[in-house]
Each structure stands twice: as C-alpha cells, then as structure tokens.
Symmetry: C2
Subunit: 331 residues, 2 copies
C-alpha cells in the first residue's frame, strides 16, 4: 500500500488528475504547481503503480527474453549486450529460463511489449502467437511464423576455410558438435563441408571431428582424439567459443605451438576470444552488431507490426588475432 497520486493530491491541495498531469510533465499545468507537486511527491516517497499504469496504458515498456539454456558463454555476453541495447531505448528487459511455451505465456501475462526468443535445439516455439504480440526469434531459419534473425553460418565457414586456404593450409579439420537437432550446428557443419569442396580440399574422417557437445571439454576431448590418431592437421576450425578454447588446450597439451605448428580459427565473435591463452582468430557476427540487430528489429516490429521480413540473415566477419599463420610447405 504505497503512496498514490491521491495522497499527493491531498497533501498538495490539488486534484489527483492535476497530479497525474504534473507527474507526466504535461504542459497543461502551471510550472509552479507542477514543481510543488513534484516536491511533495518526492517527500512522500511516491512510487507509481505499474500495474495500474499498464492497465490503462496497455504498455509495459519492457521486453521479455526467453533463454531456455542458461549455460553458454557466447550467449551470456549476447544477453548482456541485448540488455544494454534495450535499456538504451528506454525499455527494461526481463528474462525467463523456462521452455519457450511457458515463458511466452508468462510474458503475455506480464504484458511485455515484445519478446525475444533464443531458440535452442528442439526448443521450438510451436505456440501460435496472437498476432498482437511482437516476437522475434534468434536462431537458425526454419519455416515458422515469426521473424527470425539468422546468421550466415555457411559464409562464416567459407570465410574461415578461405582464410586458411590463402595461408596455404590444405589439411584442415573441423571440430564441432554434429548434433542433428541443433540447426545452428548443422549449418556450420554443412558450411565447412561446402567450403572445403569449393577449394578442392580433401575431406575425410580425420577432418570431421564430432565433439558431441558444446562445452569446452567436449572440444578438448575431441581434439585429443584427433591428435592422438596420428594425424596432425595444419589447421583446425572450431565450432564455437567454448569448443575452441578446448581445442587450444588440447593442442598445447601436445606441445604444438600455435600458430607455428598448427593454426586455429574459431566460430563466434565475442571479446573474450582475445583473452584466451592464445588470442583466437575467429569468424562470426560481432556480438554488438548481433545484439543491436535483434533489438532494433524487435523495436521496429513493435512500432509497425508485420513490417519485418520473416528472415534476416546477418553476415559474419573475420577477425584476425594471433592463432593463425601461413604454412611454408604446401602439403
């Protein structure tokens, strides 16, 4: 039971509707009364009742983010960036770590003005959105009804392989998660394959290493297996930030020098890549750009519904750091 505008009205000796106007900085109220009202409001420690405001205004000025899996480094930074971007536009962000369906339902009740969904694996939202609630999804393209922000994973892999090829590498391995249910991973996998083909590079079982997971030790273990198979590629492409950090670890454990003995390039484009033991050259959409793109798209969708294309594909960039070098010998 906090202070209401009526309390302020009493204290200031005006009507509550005048108080409302003053609080909303309406030009219809005399500056003197306005400042007096503001003053007593502060004195009384007034806090607007959000529920009431929403009930009448039908706006919550907040955006919900659905994030079913809370445990991945690259996504964590993306969430942080998205939050910053949202606040920059005068909105608040709330998170739910529930499955898409129930998270969305809850956000509806909270009357969020818009929703961002991180789609993961099979956590697709089959929910039929009432068309009035702007939703945008971040995830690989797939036939559905809400606009999705996608990343051109194939191009990313092309860039990675191309870059290595230009440096003279021909024995290139890919260490990543080949899970058949994660569309993002599938795209990377296929992208690598296509790129290798385009450059006429040999692909065999030792150039395709399934980490079977996205954690750093998945990448670590997979790389161990690769290196212990007796075949040492001259370059490795890592499927994600976490996986790549595992690759680096495994490679160093074999006393191979990066990038002298072996080059590493990883997917993802977050600042942390520079902080790894060996600053990692990487491909991917810069996380700031990703965040901006997601937020701006949603805002646009909120401003004018159905103004968004069903699919926006962001282009990756290559960022050179210190983990790749040329080969002297073309093997």
């Amino acid at each position: 039971m906090g202070i209401t505008i009526k309390d302020i009205a009493n204290a200031a000796g005006v009507s509550f509707s005048t108080v409302s106007k003053a609080l909303n900085d309406s030009p219809l109220v005399k500056p003197e009364t306005k400042s007096k009202i503001l003053k007593t409001a502060k004195e009384l420690g007034y806090e607007p009742n959000f529920a009431a405001q929403r009930l009448v205004s039908k706006q919550s000025k907040t955006i919900g983010l659905v994030w079913p899996t809370v445990e991945r480094a690259a996504l964590s930074t993306l969430v942080t960036k998205i939050n910053e971007e949202i606040e920059k536009h005068g909105y608040s962000m709330i998170l739910s770590i529930n499955p898409a369906a129930s998270a969305v339902e809850m956000f509806r009740r909270f009357q969020v003005d818009g929703i961002i969904v991180f789609e993961e694996n099979n956590n697709r939202l089959k929910v039929d959105f009432s068309p009035d609630l702007p939703v945008i999804s971040y995830g690989a393209a797939h036939n559905q009804t809400v606009p999705v922000i996608d990343v051109n994973y194939k191009k990313a892999m092309y860039q990675a392989v191309h870059y290595l090829y230009e440096l003279g590498h021909t024995n290139i391995s890919y260490v990543g998660d080949f899970s058949p249910i994660d569309q993002r991973q599938i795209e990377k996998y296929k992208g690598f394959l296509e790129a290798m083909e385009q450059f006429n590079l040999d692909v065999n079982e030792r150039s395709l290493i399934n980490s079977g997971g996205l954690d750093w030790y998945d990448g670590y273990m997979a790389t161990k297996r690769l290196l212990n198979s007796g075949f040492i590629p001259s370059a490795i492409v890592g499927g994600s930030y976490d996986i790549s950090s595992g690759i680096i670890r495994a490679v160093r454990e074999e006393n191979l020098i990066i990038p002298k003995d072996i080059s590493i390039i990883g997917y993802d484009n977050i600042p942390q890549m520079a902080n790894l033991e060996t600053p990692l050259t990487s491909v991917g959409v810069p996380v700031d750009e990703l965040a901006k793109s997601i937020v701006h798209s949603l805002l646009k969708q909120m401003a004018e519904p159905n103004s968004l294309p069903l699919l926006q594909t962001l282009q990756p960039e290559l960022k050179e750091r210190a983990s790749c070098a040329g080969t002297s010998h073309k093997s």
Copy 2:
C-alpha cells in the same frame, strides 16, 4: 485488447461477477453454470489480464531474481534449480541481469511478491528496502538489513582438508581466487588457512595459489605455475567448480595421474562435477538443497514478514567421487 470476463458474461448469459467467481473456482457458483462458463471462456480464448488482477489483488505470484553476472557454471545450475522450486510452489520467476539497485527497482514496479538477490563482489545492495517487499540474499554474511543465506565456507574447507589429512596428505595446496572484494572467496581462503593450521600442516607460498579469477583457465594457469615451480603437492583443493576443472586439466597435462599421483578436491556441489574427465570429489552445499533453502526462506518471509533470522548458514557436505586417494608415504 483480449477477451474479458464481460465478453464471457455476455456469451454465457450471466453476469461478469459470476464469471469471475467461476474462473476462480468459487464454491458459490452452481457446478453447471461454472462448467458452462469455463467452456465458453475456453472457446473465446480468454486470457486473464494480469495487470488488472494485480491491481486488485496486490499479488503477482512471481518472484524476481537479481543476477548481475550471468557467466558462472555453478550459479547457472543454481538458478535453474531455484526456478524449478519456485514453479513447484505456484509462482513464476523472472530474472534481471542488471545491477542490484536498478533490478530491484524494476521488480518493485512489476510488483513481484519477493526478491532473491545474488550478491557478487561489491555489487551489494545498499538500497533501502521498503520493509514491505520481502527480499532474501544469497551471499556471504555482512552487516546489512535483509536476511541472507550463507554457506559455511570455513567448514567446507575444514572438511576438505580433514578428508585429505585422513588420507595421509600433508602437502596440500589451495588454488582459488584471492580477490579481496569477493566475500565468498575470502571465506574459503581463510577457511583453508584455518584448517591447515588445525591439522598442523605446513603452509607456505606454494600451498596458496591465487588464480586471480574464477574461470576455468584461471585455475588452469594457476596450477600450471604451481606445478612448474618444481614442487608437486600430494593434494590440491580447488576453490570452485570452474577452477577445479582447470586444475584437473593442468594436472593431467603434466602427466600426473589422478588420484594416484595427486588428489584433487573441489568446492561446489553440483551434478556436473561427476561429468568431468575425472569425477571430482567435492565439498559444498548440494545445489538442490541450496535452492530449496533459498526459496523456502523467501516464501516464509513473504508469509510472515520478519520471521526470518538475518543470517542462515547452510552446512556443506562432502561427496566422494573419484579424484582422491590415500598416500602410502607420509611425507
């Protein structure tokens, strides 16, 4: 502009207050009318307006969780568990990754029924809580006004050292973050020191290794330094899950066998510890218990304000897995 109870009332040919009662499963309404109302409600796709419900009931049935730093494995699982526990009690959870002060302010506006704050480093909430909003904090004890759930870190370290001591270890090192601003880490550090003292074990600069951070490669690098200093302890205590996984990596890299050559015990008690390359014996409050305790305490505080002690300290447990063994030689 969704369907309201008035729409249902019209469609069902009753008054809207009867609809309200029916929807709330009031015994005051005849079963037949009730089912009829429920049916037409479903037909029309009725969704209750949360803002209105809250405006009148002054309850949101949701709990806010403040989590300023989204990037730590052990905390991720804790958040997930807390979420489950909250839902189990008929509440929803929303997350904010903003600094405590602004997150709390936002939750207030959302009229959450209670707030859980993860305190980290210096991210203390100096906010003066209006006494009407139940808050509970998870973090090391410190003089403040809201009840906090603490963990007996000293006892945890005692258990760890005691366990190793019983196994015959005398050369024990601690690898952890010595940051002077993180109360939790300080407690662990001091706890280790005290335990060593109690068992009359020698403490020198090689038994206290500052990882300077909480990420896995912080633990990795610190352990590397330790092992390369020429001194190999017979056991290492890790300050956290992430750090410990880095320790394991570094130890294996030196071709030391766990636990034959060296024993490792880590702080934290989450299921993932069993999934590390070497299943890690650990001390800490089991994450389920922690989650339960946090949620139940908050719920209790919500039910009867000020019924909670300002400090509750949870006791850690030792969980044996496969990373510790006895020493044959008492050095």
